[in-house]
Subunit: 469 residues, 2 copies
């Protein structure tokens, strides 16, 4: 799929516009608005781009080059008519898009990468055009000059325009078009309508435009300095992952996001941040083992917090990778081993009681279980286990990694490491049983055509293996 | 998809045939040949069956009923002409198969369930007919009266017949047909050719038949008592999973298969066998902890062996289920925790050295790592980590579960539990590093259209999460 990025306009309400700067080249956390859009589309599977330039076109070309530094290919089309309206820019790209459907994106919109994924996932294969819309029309910043959209119940868009009084959504600036749009544009040009919105309205009025609801995902149409700041805040808000335990959600994320900001400004890679978290854990483990409990406790909690940053840095810098994620998740277990092992070593050095020995060994054995069950659940069902959704009341056990390390942090500060490890062992077991039961119930096989439901084992043998690991 | 099962013939070379028994109802490990075929196809996604009966048809109907006990629906067609040839049986089913492609299977063939999956996976959507063939034509039992097949390099079948002198494969008795087969049968009937092979030969001679190579998977055309025994042996051979460590492959499987045979005859469920393995592990852990090292060692190794049986029982009894596999894999970790924890408890009870404390904690922390990495690799890449293929030389470390428990078994017998745990800890770490490096290399991103390969992070963010587990 190809995307046409409309970067010809002037953006006269931004600082610096008058001095020949291009607003889409303004940076948010080190990456320009237009680059963020291109990278988001790349991560949604789009690798070929047409960038339509006009005002300050040379600056755009200089900044993006042929796209290779972004991992995409870019060709440029110059639109000398850009002052007439952005419809002329789409039309100028008509010879670059072939006969397949293509994306049209505004260069000056910031949006969460998931919005681009949502759009491509909602492709009709070119049968009908699509427009990303936000059904939250009360947001103060965007209400004044947003393009308004009227949607009916089945998701069809029936009207598009700046001045609609009866509207149910606003346009997020991301379209999927087939070649119908060029006909609609030509008709508009004939009656001196040069805005893309007018052409989209033509498609809408003939039943050829459907919405893609962005469902609360964040985006911003950046026309002013205030909106640039709003986009930056929204990007920050969008960084934390969604699969958090309670401690992570309410404590660690407040600290990991500022740490991520520092790491992003220092241009640290996510892998470097992962390594940093591991080093903190190693330091914590040895501190515990050598009797420096306070240092061990603080380092354990810091490791837990910094562990949230690598994913945030990866998302902000478009440096997420599967193998980075894999190494991170495995190093987290190694880090856990150091911290729990160090704490256990401390508890067991001075002629421990039998119960202390038992709980240390239990805590170490049980700690990885909750993650193993989640992984196995996803492998078996294809669905990710989501703590907030699936764990329900068991989240108060604090038995996931964030809670476990927080309990050790408190236990270390209060010189109560043995009870802290007992807590880890017991809540870990409770969570394991809880998750096993939940997973078992959720995985009840769907009966086949048989009249005796329940007698039908499911298809796959995956997982029912043994002998190696 | 529907399957037509040809069960009309007499099978006159089997014992009991003359007394009105039906050979496809003969049992292998408690399940009849025809049921095994139907269950294999069910697990390949086929839920509707037409069983064509003739000789001893009532016995077949009584045995299979409406299929609900097998989790499928069965309708019956009677073919009074069955003595003429099995082509008449396929023809008799013509009003039950609709216009979609359908499977034709011989009721008296046993085959590994993977063959049925291979056939459905190779569907052309009805464009061309397919025939499962075995390119190993030298197997002694099948050479005499097998239907021979001549295949050319692109996989097209050019000739089918009992008496071909120039042939490259033999027919396994599983077809995917579109309605072309009925025309081919009618043409044959006109010249008094009533065998399905003759009709298949007509399709082949006009370029409408392709092979599906069964690639070393096991099957047997059961015409005699000897072939029934051969099928039983092959089923036994097919039970062990393919993903084994060295100890499992060369030692445990020799013992788990006989145990599985007993469990199958006793009609034990796979989940019951999983539970048995867990109980052995719990017994082992407590034996170690209470100082009965020999009992602990033997129970640990028995747990390891029985752990191989649950999957075998599940496969033999068509009782594999995703949630059974999930619970089994999690219980394996719990079992590991008991055994390693018990052994560690023993080592640490009598004023241990610092190094003993360190290695016990390390062994417990590192033990689950190799499996976690495998799971994460599969989640990230969609490909299962295969010990034999991927681990290479590192298999001699004996650092997977089978090896680990075997080392503890030996360590217990020789009263060297501390060195055994040291071995587990050190080889576990080596394997983890080895697998991390291998996974990292294997997951090198494939460059996009960019001219600077290596600069392109891959698409997914999965895994680069943190904060919960």
């Amino acid at each position: 799929m190809r995307a046409v990025v409309l970067a010809a306009g002037e953006g006269s309400r931004m600082n610096g516009a008058r001095s020949g700067e291009h607003k889409a080249l303004r940076k948010i956390l080190g990456i320009s608005i237009i680059e963020r859009g291109i990278l988001a589309m790349r991560d949604a599977g789009v690798h070929h781009f047409t960038v339509v330039v006009g005002y300050a076109g040379d600056k755009v070309r200089d900044a993006l080059g042929n796209g290779s530094s972004l991992g995409v290919s870019i060709e440029y089309v110059e639109n000398k008519d850009w002052r007439r309206g952005n419809g002329t820019s789409v039309y100028a790209a008509r010879n670059t898009v072939g006969n397949d459907e293509f994306i049209v994106a505004m260069a000056d919109h910031w949006y969460e990468p998931e919005i681009a994924k949502l759009l491509t996932a909602n492709s009709s294969g070119g049968a009908i055009s699509k427009l990303c819309v936000d059904l939250d029309i009360d947001s103060p910043l965007r209400s004044d000059d947003a393009t308004r959209v009227r949607v009916i119940a089945d998701g069809s868009i029936v009207q598009v325009g700046k001045n609609l009084s009866d509207f149910s959504a606003v346009d997020c600036g991301l379209f999927l078009f087939n070649r119908d749009i060029f006909g609609a544009l030509q008709k508009g040009f004939a009656s001196e309508e040069y805005e893309l919105g007018a052409a989209a309205n033509r498609l809408a009025s003939t039943g050829r435009l459907e919405m893609v609801d962005v469902e609360g995902l964040l985006w911003e149409d950046i026309d002013t300095e205030d909106e640039l700041k709003a986009a930056s805040r929204k990007l920050r808000r969008s960084l934390p992952g969604s699969d958090d335990g309670l401690i992570s959600q309410y404590l660690n994320r407040r600290l990991s996001v500022p740490i991520s900001m520092i790491a992003i400004r220092a241009r640290l890679t996510p892998n470097f941040v992962s390594l940093l978290a591991l080093l903190l854990a190693v330091f914590s483990g040895f501190s515990f083992a050598f009797g420096n409990i306070i240092a061990g406790a603080i380092a354990a909690q810091m490791a837990s917090i910094v562990d949230g940053s690598d994913g945030e840095v990866a998302r902000a810098r478009f440096m997420s990778s599967k193998r980075g994620g894999l190494v991170d998740s495995v190093l987290d277990r190694v880090a856990d081993g150091f911290i729990l092992g160090g704490a256990g070593y401390h508890v067991l050095t001075n002629s421990p009681e039998s119960w202390e020995l038992a709980i240390v060994l239990m805590a170490l054995a049980i700690a990885p279980m909750s993650m193993i069950l989640k992984d196995r659940f996803q492998l078996a069902t294809g669905r990710k286990w989501q703590s907030e959704l699936d764990d329900g009341a068991s989240r108060v056990l604090l038995a996931t990694r964030d809670g476990r390390l927080f309990v050790l942090f408190l236990g270390g500060l209060l010189n109560l490491l043995a009870p802290a490890l007992a807590f880890v062992a017991i809540t870990g077991m409770l969570l394991l049983v809880w998750r096993l039961v939940l997973a078992w119930v959720q995985m009840t096989p769907i009966p086949g055509p048989s009249e005796t439901p329940g007698a039908v084992p499911s298809l796959s043998q995956s997982g029912a293996e043994a002998g190696g690991d």
